[in-house]
Subunit: 148 residues, 2 copies
């Protein structure tokens, strides 16, 4: 039984994205929710770690595996502010995560670009998109306009 809305948890992912923004990283954030609780958080740390795989989702997933001591997340939901890329999709596939909820779409790097209509997640993973999409995308726009 969920007492909090998708918007509530996406706000928590947005908090992570804002930490990235303040650290001059592409502002994407993620949280993993299990049994109504946030068990893991992550924000993009590509520049800090000089590691292009250090995406918010990868960091949140690895934290969640550590937290639960399990390599599967069937009963968990991952919230992320922006549509996952192919790598993060692959990681979410392996985790067998129950649900993926994302905010804004990413025409350039999102998974749909490569996989098209083919569902690259685990067959049982439920996908929900568009939660707080405007806020999530606005933060990205603010970041990239600051860069120019």
């Amino acid at each position: 039984m969920e007492t909090h809305s998708h918007e509530y948890y996406m706000q928590q992912a947005l908090r992570q994205a804002r930490i990235a923004f303040d650290a001059d990283e592409v502002p994407i954030g993620a949280v993993v929710v299990w049994d109504q609780k946030i068990i893991a958080r992550g924000y993009n740390q590509v520049e800090l770690l000089k590691d292009p795989t250090a995406h918010a989702e990868m960091i949140a997933l690895t934290a969640a595996f550590n937290q639960l001591g399990s390599k599967y997340l069937m009963d968990a939901t991952l919230y992320v502010t922006i549509e996952p890329c192919l790598m993060c999709c692959g990681a979410l596939y392996w985790s067998k995560v129950g649900q993926v909820v994302f905010g804004g779409t990413d025409v350039k790097n999102g998974y749909k670009k490569t996989t098209g209509t083919q569902h690259p997640f685990h067959p049982k993973t439920k996908i929900i998109e568009g939660i707080l999409a405007e806020e999530c995308i606005q933060l990205m726009k603010d970041f990239f306009s600051k860069k120019r």
Copy 2:
């Protein structure tokens, strides 16, 4: 100028795969070569870390970024014993790695299953497959027959 053959480096990746085999992990290994030298190694550690994203390629890539202090690997080659999955492809895409050389194909989990003919790597990444394929696949077969 490469003084060593692809087979030589794939043998090094196979050594990593055998470490995984001995640790009761799915036996896949990888090395990253830069300027003719092996700068990073990795083997599958999914069970040890209870992290389904701890694939040989991911570990070798992260080690390579750390080693070079760079988030791009344009001049490097990643050797891996088995066709990368979608997640590892995505990671290799972000790394802009110069070359990916793999041994055996993986009909079940390899990237081609989802992406089909679409090339999911960076446009400049060169792909070579089939190096020591029989040995790479035999190690996998030995592992899974031991499991049954």
